[in-house]
């Protein structure tokens, strides 16, 4: 694990994300079992794994929505179990499984979230983000009347409203047509580059992960079984694509945290 970076003021700046020996147990089920990793600025890290691998629970603990059984998840130095409100304005989240109010228009939704994040120039920022995400024509339409692709763009606009330094994305292109999905990925690449943001991506789309992520953390039964670049993982397994690697891992039978090709 790399050491925290020195800040311009000379002090030590905490990493955007630092996860140490994170465990979450629900009754007799261990959802996350001793996960540790640290994330740097200007990086995209994909959390991969089959259903029930522990991706959502790990991300939920990063957001502070779930309290770990043991270990800790720190974001910009703040322990998310106890002091999440110190840093929530520096992060944001997008998922097709979480909506914004259906009856409200796109503009109303963005303005409400703009107030929650404390935007200085609310109207200006809403106009800018709408233009950036091709939503200007939709601003006065109810969110519930939009197509899946349009809703994804609204969710992305909400997620980028506060220009988060840490962006958590849960399947950001699920249910999108290939053209719109490609457009969203380009936006995310641009955002990461311009904002030097830390992006955590949970996705089942391996082509998307290969394109966006410079690091893959693979989970199985709540444990990290691989933590390397997509290229390294593909090479180690002697495969052509990340999808083939994922299938090879998923079909090998599991049972051991030790991952061998």
């Amino acid at each position: 694990m790399q050491k925290p970076m020195p800040s311009p003021s000379g002090g030590v700046q905490p990493r955007p994300v630092e996860v140490r020996d994170l465990r979450k147990v629900y009754g007799e089920i261990t959802a996350v079992d001793g996960v540790s990793f640290g994330l740097e600025s200007n990086s995209v890290t994909a959390l991969l794994g089959g259903n029930g691998a522990g991706k959502t629970t790990t991300i939920s603990m990063l957001m502070g929505l779930v309290v770990p059984t043991s270990g800790e998840a720190r974001v910009f130095g703040a322990d998310m179990a106890h002091e999440r409100h110190k840093v929530l304005h520096r992060m944001n989240f997008e998922s097709p499984y979480v909506d914004v109010p259906m009856r409200l228009t796109v503009r109303q939704n963005l303005q409400i979230y703009g107030r929650l994040y404390g935007l200085n120039d609310l109207a200006g920022r809403v106009t800018d983000i709408a233009a950036e995400l091709r939503l200007t024509e939709l601003l006065d339409r109810a969110y519930g009347k939009l197509s899946a692709g349009q809703r994804t763009r609204v969710s992305l606009a909400k997620a980028l409203l506060n220009e988060p330094e840490l962006l958590l994305l849960d399947e950001p292109t699920a249910s999108l047509d290939p053209d719109t999905a490609d457009w969203v990925r380009t936006k995310l690449e641009d955002y990461r580059r311009v904002r030097q943001a830390t992006i955590v991506l949970a996705s089942h789309n391996m082509a998307e992960v290969e394109r966006l992520a410079d690091r893959v953390i693979m989970l199985e039964k709540g444990r990290v079984i691989a933590d390397e670049t997509p290229e390294e993982l593909i090479k180690r397994f002697g495969r052509e694509t990340l999808e083939e690697v994922f299938l090879a891992i998923a079909r090998r039978g599991g049972g051991s945290a030790e991952l061998a090709p």
Partner: protein, 279 residues
């Protein structure tokens, strides 16, 4: 990206920032009320039906019994005050349920909105919904039965405050229960207030209850409000000590309600309920 010299975000820990977040949530609920006339009509519907039913019953009884003719306004006043308790609690709880129905809770919990700010917003929204529901009904009570709630004067303001504070306490508990157990507990939020209808002696004096149940009734703030109403209507006197007792109990219940809300929220974070919100 932002190019102006002004920072994108305001400082987050000031009172102004907190007020801005509360205002954002109030707007969110106001937009919902404004966007749907059936919802607005629904707010008025039940209080109106209840007021008409009790009003006509009182009119009928007044023609046949001496007591009812002396007690003009007892039933209509009772139903109007009872509806303040019910509508305010439902206004609080249903506004929160909107977040779960619209699958918005995850975004809210991930935003800088603090639990206390959400609670304050829900309290304000419950007052707004109460006004939307009760002002037309109070006007109709005057038009149909000549009952003017404002003739209760200062007493009405004190009754109103005590009932609304109690409704918030119930709203906090029911919202906490839904946070912890999801929509499976939704019916609790809808029904919890109705156990107070017999216990708070809305339409009869506390002495009507069995002795042991009187103690239960006297531990509930609304009981003192309805006793106070009967004092004004039947004897023409306003007993301030009843309202002091009600207020003291309300302070206790509201503190317990907020503690319960915080406990259930923390419990939801431990059990993972916030990310699995549903039935």
């Amino acid at each position: 990206m932002t190019t102006s010299m002004q920072p994108l975000l305001r400082p987050q820990t000031t009172v102004a920032a907190s007020a801005g977040r509360v205002w954002g949530m109030v707007l969110r609920y106001w937009y919902v009320i404004r966007s749907s006339w059936p919802r607005t009509a629904e707010l008025i519907y039940w209080p109106l039906v209840q007021m008409l039913m009790w009003g006509f019953l009182q009119t009928y009884l007044a023609q046949s019994t001496g007591f009812a003719s002396r007690a003009a306004g007892l039933f209509i006043g009772g139903v109007l005050l009872w509806d303040i308790l019910v509508r305010s609690q439902l206004g609080f709880s249903v506004a929160f349920l909107e977040e779960i129905w619209s699958r918005n809770l995850g975004h809210l919990m991930m935003s800088p909105l603090r639990p206390i700010e959400l609670v304050i917003a829900l309290m304000i929204v419950s007052l707004i919904k109460l006004m939307v529901a009760m002002v037309p009904v109070a006007l109709m009570a005057y038009a149909f039965f000549g009952f003017n709630v404002l003739t209760l004067g200062v007493a009405f303001a004190v009754f109103f405050a005590n009932l609304v504070i109690m409704s918030w306490s119930l709203g906090l508990v029911s919202t906490g229960v839904v946070l912890r157990w999801g929509l499976g507990a939704e019916s609790f939020a809808w029904l919890v207030v109705f156990v107070f209808l017999p216990l708070c002696c809305v339409y009869y004096p506390v002495t009507t209850l069995p002795h042991w149940l009187q103690w239960v009734a006297l531990s509930l703030p609304p009981t003192y409000v309805f006793e106070g109403l009967r004092g004004i209507v039947l004897r023409g006197t306003f007993d301030g000590t009843l309202m002091v007792k009600a207020f003291a109990l309300n302070v206790l219940y509201f503190s317990l309600g907020f503690a319960a809300f915080r406990y259930f929220l923390q419990s939801a974070r431990v059990h993972g309920s916030l990310v699995q919100m549903g039935e």
